[in-house]
Symmetry: C2
Subunit: 389 residues, 2 copies
């Protein structure tokens, strides 16, 4: 029995729409074949979410072909046949001899495929910024005479504007984020170990909500007293105390799409300083969402946030957000002063208002939203509270 | 109040021993300063496990300094002060202006630090194989006249041989893997959703066992009928059926150290074919462990496995294991025919016997072990069964 096709999160027409948009950019850049290696971009153009990117793999988009071709390790071929919208003839497994082999690797299989398919005089596009130097050198030395074009963020910019179908999936992910945060409120108690609470919250993120499970565990950070000035620690073996503050950041995931969410919790009454910071941040959050409408820039949103926060007597050093979608951060637009990216409907951002002020003070709040003509529309529904436990 | 130091998993002397071993290799390669960028190598040399590697960061080891210096994003400085054995004066945060900036990034801060520290005529070592071409070019153009030396796997080879202190931590991680697999046996039932079972198993991996929590969630794969020929799928929304086969791969984690474990489960009696494959694989596992003693080669272990499996009428295409430790796979030795790495005491491997034979048949079993003079000594204690549920 051949491997069955999974029930895909999007119809074939949606994947073809995306591939067509990429081809149109390829035409513009005079690129005949694009080698997509960023995992999130592969997911975007095919549906594939299997975790095989620790070895070389590439989705090869030829202008001449309706469907891309995926070159992957032989053992990952069945997962690709299962999860990708493309015909199984477009999934090519390379042999195990290319694994842990200092002379030839999976990128050689990709070069072979391109050379066998025949190249005209147009260029080969690579996501060069994310590739090791030796890999780029391999393309240069083996595809003799071909023009290599740096297309590092081309697909990422295209996926920056979501379809309504993608927005629906991101809402599903956001509902899981909300469920996780509500679970956190239930399980964070004095005397409970950080790991025990994390186990319960993460289980909720996997279980999902409304009958829709999470499909992955994304980044998860629980930074509690005395570590509230840290931002990327998983959790520790410490036990919560009366007076502990807990900064949480995590995301529900559906088919790769993440909708991150941050909230601060406090066991007992927070300090006046933290309460004032919370007020300033919520004011900034609301100001930012008001401005985040079609036609404004990323910079405008950051200015709105920073201005509102400053009125409350605070500053935030880091950018106040970034484009978000498959696999969390998109390496494109940032909500920061000076980023002149013009907002379009259905661009999605993590309005990330974590503010780590000094070694004693950190506070977090965030929402994932989409751009609309009327402003930023958050996906999560959780109250903008500093949760007191 | 300054950020307190965490209770570290190893004494200072252990970290200094590792740094000294790296410096000795640097001397041999005529390298004056080594820029360590692989997250697992940073963990090895400092204790840092915070998840900030999505932006540039580097642990800079100078021959002249007792302790390395960590250059990281400003917001991650407190986590480094907390988790690293080094003095806080050796943690340097670079400003937010280097984030999402097309002209200068965190690697510029690293180059600045090296140039400011003064360079003699010895080389700068880089983990070049894992760095983007633009980053290497940055070192080349800014550290004018310096000789760049590719030290990609130097630290990884050094950490291949564990200390007894590290072995103790890997045993703790293995006990968590065992607990996860026992939990899987309890929660995998006909009618249960794959996501629900995964939530319970992952919660166990976070909670840990024997009062020792897991410290991270590593890779987690649940590949059930009809996907038993896949190997890197998280889980799906499907419900287990009578007759379902479930292939599991996951790892307990302690302070970055992982001890992966694979087992196959079956709801109801497995087919005769799968039972025969199981017998062959267990025979191969035992043969491999017998041979995995000091002085033998990786190739010898693979030959022992392959020979035993062949006697049962089966082959396995992929390598039968790889060096394992911090962050799972070490990019060094492989248990495959032709890998002439000589086994030393306390080298640790994941004897990974997943065998994905065709689109219908996949079976998995594995153990994480250390090399001893008497053979491979597994860390996990789970019976080598095909678990029938």
């Amino acid at each position: 029995m051949a491997m069955p096709r999974a029930s895909l999160p999007f119809p074939r027409s949606e994947y073809l729409r995306r591939v067509t948009a990429v081809k149109s950019e390829m035409e513009r850049r005079d690129v005949e074949v694009l080698v997509v290696t960023t995992p999130a971009n592969i997911t975007y153009l095919s549906g594939y979410t299997s975790k095989s990117a620790y070895v070389p793999q590439g989705l090869v988009v030829f202008l001449k072909d309706e469907e891309p071709t995926f070159i992957t390790r032989r053992m990952d071929e069945p997962a690709a046949i299962h999860q990708m919208f493309i015909d199984r003839s477009h999934v090519i497994g390379y042999p195990e001899a290319l694994i842990a082999n200092p002379d030839r690797d999976g990128y050689d299989a990709i070069v072979d495929f391109i050379l066998d398919s025949g190249l005209s005089r147009k260029g080969i596009g690579l996501e060069a910024k994310f590739l090791p130097a030796v890999t780029i050198e391999k393309f240069r030395s083996r595809a003799v005479g071909a023009r290599l074009v740096d297309c590092s963020n081309d697909v990422s910019w295209i996926r920056g504007v979501k379809s309504d179908l993608e927005i629906a999936i991101m809402r599903e992910a956001a509902a899981i984020s909300d469920a996780g945060m509500l679970r956190a409120q239930e399980v964070i108690r004095p005397g409970t170990c950080e790991a025990e609470a994390s186990a319960e919250i993460i289980a909720t993120l996997v279980r999902g909500t409304n009958g829709l499970p999470g499909t992955d565990v994304a980044g998860f950070f629980l930074c509690a007293t005395p570590r509230t000035s840290t931002c990327h620690i998983r959790w520790t073996e410490d036990v919560f105390q009366q007076g502990s503050q807990i900064n949480l950041e995590f995301a529900g995931v559906r088919y790769g799409y993440t909708s991150p969410l941050m909230r601060t919790m406090s066991i007992g009454k927070p300090s006046d300083y933290i309460l004032r910071l919370h007020e300033g941040e919520v004011a900034g959050l609301e100001a930012a969402l008001d401005v985040a409408k079609t036609g404004q820039t990323c910079s405008d949103v950051a200015v709105a946030f920073n201005t509102a926060l400053k009125k409350h007597g605070f500053d935030k050093e880091s950018r106040c957000g970034y484009a978000v979608g498959i696999d969390w951060t998109e390496p494109t637009a940032s909500l920061k002063e000076g980023d002149m990216t013009i907002l379009k409907p259905n661009m999605t951002f993590h309005l990330m208002l974590g503010n780590w002020i000094n070694e004693d003070v950190g506070y977090v709040i965030s929402e994932t939203f989409r751009v609309t003509n009327a402003g930023g529309e958050p996906f999560t529904k959780l109250p903008r509270q500093l949760f007191e436990i």
